[in-house]
């Protein structure tokens, strides 16, 4: 099998997957570059416009609104996810029955669909029918129901952030727990003998020894937040005044309901370039931790 014959047989086994990637990733990418240079719609004749679509994006206020909102959302949610995820990991990293169950429970929403969880939270945050307002009133925190999805983009965004933290916090936690458990026991014993306090040990031992995982999870969650769509599509529908329409949302709006495929492609390319930077960082990081 490990002969010249093996080369061709191996290539044969590899070819279906390669053909698939060529057809549904590489070719569409090339097509997208081509489309981004055109005025392209399903109905009308396509027209070459050069960099026209990119110039259009530059002067499109909605492009900047969407981009800055997406960045702001990412900047807000990432520290919350990291800090909370790490604290929960510290709390539950030890293998006792209660902590194991807690880990499993914290992780459970990760397998729930983002669409389902967004609908669930949209209901919980609804003005009249939501249990969030009901509980806040019962606890005496507010006197009147809060209009979460109204004219205030900040309120809407905080509601979305609560729902996403609930949904994805377990992902970071699980990776942090694995990293904490991989710290050799002797190191902890040594610092115990030194009489270091719990938080001193977290700062001097746990944090440095899990730094790589923290950075990795940060990147994964930054990429995820930059690509946010479902939660805003369902919970805010981009409102108020398209202030919460993320970058992917804007691509969706242009390409599909409006069928401006050329402009949508240009926006997609810009987004792909931003994501590429993050992914390259991620790969450098994982390569290093590998070797």
């Amino acid at each position: 099998m490990h002969s010249t014959n093996g080369k061709f047989v191996g290539l044969l086994y590899l070819s279906p997957a390669l053909a698939f990637v060529m057809a549904f990733t590489v070719y569409p990418f090339g097509q997208m570059v081509w489309m981004s240079l055109h005025n392209w719609s399903l109905i009308a004749e396509k027209k070459y416009v050069g960099a026209g679509n990119f110039v259009k994006a530059w002067y499109d206020p909605q492009f900047w609104t969407s981009l800055s909102f997406t960045l702001k959302y990412t900047a807000l949610i990432t520290p919350i996810l990291m800090l909370l995820g790490f604290l929960i990991a510290l709390l539950t990293a030890v293998n006792t029955p209660l902590r194991r169950i807690t880990r499993a429970v914290v992780f459970a929403p990760v397998v729930v669909g983002l669409g389902a969880s967004s609908l669930l939270w949209y209901w919980l945050f609804s003005y009249d029918f939501g249990l969030v307002n009901r509980s806040l009133i019962d606890l005496g925190i507010v006197a009147k129901p809060v209009l979460w999805f109204g004219a205030d983009a900040g309120l809407a965004t905080s509601a979305v952030i609560v729902s996403i933290v609930w949904k994805v916090i377990g992902f970071g936690t699980i990776l942090f727990v694995a990293a904490i458990q991989a710290i050799p026991g002797e190191i902890n014993e040594a610092t115990l003998v030194d009489g270091a306090s719990y938080w001193q040990r977290v700062r001097r031992i746990t944090l440095p020894l899990t730094a790589k995982t923290i950075l990795l999870v940060t990147l994964i969650s930054v990429i995820g937040s930059l690509l946010a769509f479902d939660q805003f599509y369902i919970m805010t529908a981009g409102q108020p005044r398209n202030l919460t329409a993320t970058s992917v949302f804007l691509i969706y709006l242009n390409s599909f309901p409006y069928l401006k495929l050329g402009y949508g492609s240009a926006l997609s390319l810009i987004l792909a370039a931003i994501i590429l930077v993050c992914t390259v960082f991620q790969m450098i990081l994982t390569r290093r931790s590998h070797g």
Binding site: K7, V105, A108
Partner: protein
């Protein structure tokens, strides 16, 4: 609860000392207090995570009037399956949407396995020239997010008449899952001892027979992991479904729920029915997660920390 992390070497065995350190009387006092604090925090955390799910299930069991009550009730006053009944008959009917979701998920699993089992075999066991390069090509989906590729894919599918079809949707879902699946499969094939395969070759098996008789039984865990992730991705995915499917009867479950939230919001959203839909869409994911937690966690760890 036998997650992969529980099976790690007892390297973290000294970790219990991190939160429990009885030293002297004062240490004993704080040590015990810390223990109770940890217990209380764990229980509070579980409650916070489970309450939304519980609220949804309970709301789905409220009667039609109670589901529309202002302010809402915490607990249903009586059990009623009205919401499920309405969902069953909503638009094209729940069975159609469940069928579409299951169909897309099944196709995604088949495509993922059909493509990545042979690819993993080739990458791990054959002297293919330029193997590393091909491996990177197969991982390209990690670099270009599918959200950015939907515009050209949509155009392509319109031309190929693959829009409004579950095959088209499953193709996109497969493209999302392919890098992860290739990676898992290659590792699984590499972990199979060479002696097994050499014995089969001496017995005169060709490479296909070796794959079927020796490797397939050995890589069952990887097949489960790849299928599980393919299922969860496909079952839950919204954006690609939104783009590719625009005929009501071809909708998947997340899509019809998102549509129901918008369509019924004019005449007052049917919250009870939506909660019934959410509950139904969550059940299979939770069931597979609880049954196959080991595979889920180990897949996640190896997939994220490549």
């Amino acid at each position: 609860m036998s997650a992969a992390w529980d099976k790690r070497p007892r390297g973290g065995a000294a970790a219990p000392a991190m939160l429990e350190e009885p030293q002297g009387l004062l240490g004993w006092f704080f040590g015990t207090r810390a223990k109770y604090l940890v217990g209380a925090l764990c229980i509070a955390l579980c409650a916070i995570m489970l309450l939304p799910l519980l609220a949804s299930v309970l709301a789905s069991l409220k009667s039609t009037q109670e589901a529309a009550a202002v302010p809402p009730t915490y607990f249903p006053h009586g059990l009623s399956f009205d919401s499920y009944r309405r969902l069953w008959h909503y638009q094209a009917g729940l069975p159609t949407y469940l069928g579409n979701s299951a169909g897309a998920a099944l196709l995604t699993i088949l495509f993922c396995l059909g493509l990545t089992v042979p690819a993993g075999y080739a990458l791990a066991r054959f002297p293919v020239p330029g193997k590393e390069f091909f491996f990177i090509v197969l991982l390209l989906g990690l670099i270009v997010p599918y959200q950015a590729l939907l515009t050209p894919l949509f155009f392509m599918f319109v031309q190929l008449k693959l829009h409004n079809s579950l095959v088209g949707l499953a193709i996109v879902h497969t493209a999302i899952q392919l890098p992860f699946s290739v990676y898992i499969m290659r590792n699984a094939f590499e972990a199979v001892p060479r002696e097994l395969e050499e014995a089969a070759v001496i017995d005169g098996c060709n490479s296909w027979q070796v794959l079927v008789r020796i490797f397939l039984p050995a890589i069952v865990p990887a097949i489960i992991t790849v299928s599980l992730f393919a299922f969860i991705t496909s079952w839950n995915e919204l954006l690609a479904a939104l783009v590719i499917l625009n005929k009501d009867s071809s909708f998947t479950l997340p899509l019809i729920l998102a549509a129901a939230r918008q369509q019924t919001s004019i005449g007052g959203t049917d919250w009870g029915m939506l909660q019934a839909g959410i509950t139904i869409s969550i059940i299979p994911c939770m069931a597979f997660y609880l049954l196959l937690q080991k595979y889920y966690v180990s897949g996640l760890l190896s997939g994220a920390v490549k």
